[in-house]
């Protein structure tokens, strides 16, 4: 059989790519029976390894048979490699034949093996094949680390054809294949496949530039660093082809680290929200955007807390990348960390600190352990809130180790911390927007009822027309409403009432103008309007009552009245009495009846206006009373509080 030739040279017969080679050699070392280097592997270890692949026993038998070990009675290097290849094929669903060996396959998956400490996130994956673990993990892991890290997984970091998703510790049976998680709302389509994706991998060998995300079976079963997400966020062109495409395992890398492609993608997304990369994305905008990811709100809230490091309610570019990355991770099934992972620290402070809680991070030995990010976060928070001295403590630590992973803004962390501090500290002492909103809300309630009544009334009195035709100087003069009223709502109303008031005195002064040619009552209003121009500051409540009355008659005869000039004395003196018309004018007899009619009409209108103004006046008086009372109580309270204020 081919095993003969297979035994000839492992390298020539079986095409192993670099990664497989590395992996296999690692496994080989794992299963070394002894350190003699004879090349024969301890069958027990091999058996456990095979069991760890979680293939049915008959498959394993077949594999053993095919690879030639059965015949040979032992596992040589060649056989071992062939067997591994066959295992991979079997796991991919291919028939166990030597032909399968030639194809490019994903690496075989083994559960329960502590393949590489750097690759694993949990010390021993739960529920795994425990036999394999103590058996091979001890010597294996140590041998893994130096050898394989370099050889095997460096190539992985490059975004080439390494699509196989291998995660040896992952238990395939432990989790059902996840339904593809597709960000429909996002402009790119990342589909995370479950284990079923394995079967599609071989079809994707040629899809070289496309790096995709594959999907984790379950968050609890991370044996390796599922670095899929890093590689996945590919170029926009590959977005559409993301389905079913294998992932590039950056096994050597921190899953929380953002790759270049991801960063590019995030940048594009940021630009779509906010063209200026240096600017901030507001909270509401970010909320809307991230809500599209369909993560539950508490998780989004937590992600926000993690990523908004300067606590300003908006996202800078780095914060945005962090948040996006966390969301991507979460969608991939990673549990959210309690505190920000090191590599997601806003680029400036890339400390090589111990990765926090997430199980997969704990065994990342290569990241030096410093203070945990949790404590770091706490210190950051506390420093934000406490004195600067607290801050100075952790700051030097953060500065010492820095990973240049992020093309971030080159601010030293201390500056950022200072910013945080200064940003947060003033916050508590200054009025918040809520307070302002509250204040503003308190003001409007009181005035509105008053103006509306007279306003509507005034408009019915055609005061608008009056004002339009009135002298502009008058109008501006009217706007100086009495100081007792709250400025905002009553301005226009007061102006109207004032104007109305103006007309009222008209009637009192009516007699003076009686001699004039124009109709007696009406022109006075016009005159009064102009007259009041200079004297508006004297207007008080009484004026309002009178003004509407006069305006009634003012309206119909406006054009004729412009002749009159201000001549009467200060209208202050005019009492808000009811209109009293003098007897019919002495101008001409022929106008008498007409004027009478007009007068009576004017009287009627003025009475209405008068009533309105009286009502208004009473309301204002009441408010004045209330204000006085408040003032008195406040003053008394002030006296009471004054001794207390010293305590």
């Amino acid at each position: 059989m081919e095993q003969e030739s297979g035994a000839a040279s492992a390298g020539t017969f079986i095409p192993l790519n670099e990664r497989e080679h590395g992996f296999y050699s690692g496994l080989h070392a794992l299963c070394q029976a002894d350190s003699s280097g004879t090349g024969t592997l301890s069958s027990c270890k091999v058996a456990t390894l095979f069991k760890a692949s979680q293939l049915p026993p008959e498959t394993l038998h077949k594999v053993t048979e095919v690879c030639g070990a059965k015949r040979l009675g032992y596992f040589g290097v060649t056989q071992f490699y062939v067997a591994l290849k066959l295992l991979a094929a079997a796991q991919s669903g291919l028939p166990i034949r030597l032909d399968s060996v030639t194809t490019n396959l994903p690496l075989p998956r083994f559960v329960g093996l502590q393949i590489e400490p750097e690759l694993q996130y949990s010390t021993i994956p739960p529920g795994a094949d425990v036999q394999g673990a103590p058996c091979g993990s001890g010597p294996g892991s140590s041998s893994w680390t130096p050898a394989d890290r370099g050889g095997t997984f460096r190539p992985l970091e490059t975004n080439t054809e390494k699509k196989e998703a291998w995660s040896p510790p992952r238990s395939p049976c432990a989790s059902p294949p996840r339904s593809p998680v597709i960000y429909h709302s996002y402009p790119y389509n990342q589909q995370r496949n479950g284990l079923d994706a394995q079967t599609t991998y071989e079809s994707k060998h040629s899809s070289r530039p496309t790096a995709q995300l594959e999907q984790h079976s379950s968050p609890s079963n991370y044996g390796t660093k599922p670095t899929m997400e890093h590689s996945a966020i590919a170029q926009a062109s590959s977005v559409e082809r993301l389905d079913q495409q294998a992932v590039v395992y950056h096994c050597n890398e921190d899953p929380w680290r953002i790759t270049g492609e991801q960063l590019e993608y995030y940048t594009n997304q940021f630009k779509s929200l906010q063209p200026d990369l240096g600017a901030l994305i507001l909270g509401a905008v970010a909320k809307h955007f991230f809500t599209k990811s369909k993560l539950p709100i508490p998780e989004l809230s937590h992600i926000w807390e993690l990523s908004d490091v300067d606590r300003d309610g908006a996202l800078t570019f780095s914060e945005f990348c962090t948040a996006f990355h966390l969301i991507v991770a979460r969608k991939n099934g990673y549990p959210l960390p309690e505190s920000l992972p090191v590599s997601l620290q806003p680029g400036l402070t890339q400390q090589e600190e111990h990765i926090p809680d997430t199980p997969e991070d704990q065994s990342i030995v290569e990241l030096q352990s410093g203070s945990t990010t949790k404590t770091q976060d706490k210190t950051e928070e506390s420093s934000q809130q406490d004195t600067a001295s607290v801050r100075a403590g952790p700051a030097p630590e953060t500065l010492t180790l820095r990973l240049p992973a992020f093309p971030q803004r080159p601010e030293p962390p201390q500056d950022l911390d200072t910013q945080w501090r200064t940003k947060t500290r003033p916050r508590s002492y200054s009025s918040t927007s809520i307070e302002d909103a509250m204040k503003k809300a308190e003001e409007p309630p009181t005035p509105p009822p008053r103006p509306q009544k007279t306003h509507s009334r005034a408009s019915s009195l055609d005061l608008n027309k009056l004002f339009q035709q009135g002298a502009p100087g008058l109008k501006s003069g009217w706007l100086l409403h009495p100081p007792a009223l709250p400025p905002r709502p009553s301005t226009s109303q007061v102006s109207q009432t004032q104007q109305i008031k103006v007309q009222q005195p008209n009637f009192a002064d009516f007699t003076h103008f009686r001699e004039e040619e124009e109709s007696p009552e009406k022109p006075d209003e016009q005159r009064l309007c102009s007259r009041f121009g200079p004297s508006t500051e004297d207007l008080t409540n009484p004026y309002k009552q009178e003004a509407p009355a006069g305006s009634h008659s003012q309206a119909p005869q406006k054009p004729a009245r412009r002749k009159y000039h201000p001549e009467t004395p200060n209208p202050d003196a005019v009492p808000p009495a009811a209109v009293q018309f003098p007897p019919p004018n002495k101008l001409t007899q022929r106008l008498l009846s007409k004027q009478k009619r007009e007068i009576q009409m004017a009287i009627r209108k003025n009475k209405e206006t008068n009533a309105v103004l009286t009502r208004l006046n009473s309301e204002l008086q009441q408010q004045l009373k209330v204000a006085h009372q408040e003032r008195v109580t406040l003053e008394s309270q002030l006296d009471l509080v004054r001794p207390l204020a010293s305590t």
Partner: protein, 139 residues
């Protein structure tokens, strides 16, 4: 030591209540509830003062046989209440003030989170962390 910390919304319903486990929760809740009256009285007494942090801190609301209650109100009428054990005489006023300041800061952080709706119970882990830290501290 700290018996408990509570955050009460403007409409006087609790946003967050946490007490040390040893204390009976119900009693703590009751104490906080009754202290709200005192808080309201203090708020109305001080009047419409603006933003002076001194006036945000209400001080010792009332001492009872077992514990002392301190109050603090924000500009948006959110109240923080801290209940401490009377036997802990080492707690000075300044410390209480700083605790309130910390609470206020964390609270604003929570509010800044766009995913948090004002009026919802506070579910922020960061806020929890701060509160736990304070409860343990000066233990």
């Amino acid at each position: 030591w700290r018996v408990g910390i509570a955050v009460i919304a403007k409409e006087n319903y609790p946003l967050y209540i946490r007490s040390v486990a040893s204390q009976s929760e119900l009693k703590f809740h009751y104490t906080v509830h009754t202290s709200l009256d005192v808080v309201e009285e203090k708020i109305s007494a001080v009047g419409k003062s603006l933003g002076d942090q001194r006036e945000l801190y209400l001080g010792l609301l009332y001492p009872t046989e077992d514990y002392k209650v301190y109050g603090y109100v924000t500009n948006s009428k959110v109240k923080f209440v801290i209940v401490v054990d009377s036997s802990n005489t080492s707690l000075r006023d300044n410390e209480i003030r700083s605790m309130f300041r910390k609470l206020h800061n964390s609270f604003t952080d929570v509010m800044c989170n766009p995913f948090h709706n004002p009026g919802d119970p506070i579910q922020s882990k960061a806020f929890d962390g701060i509160v736990s830290g304070m409860m343990v501290q000066t233990g």
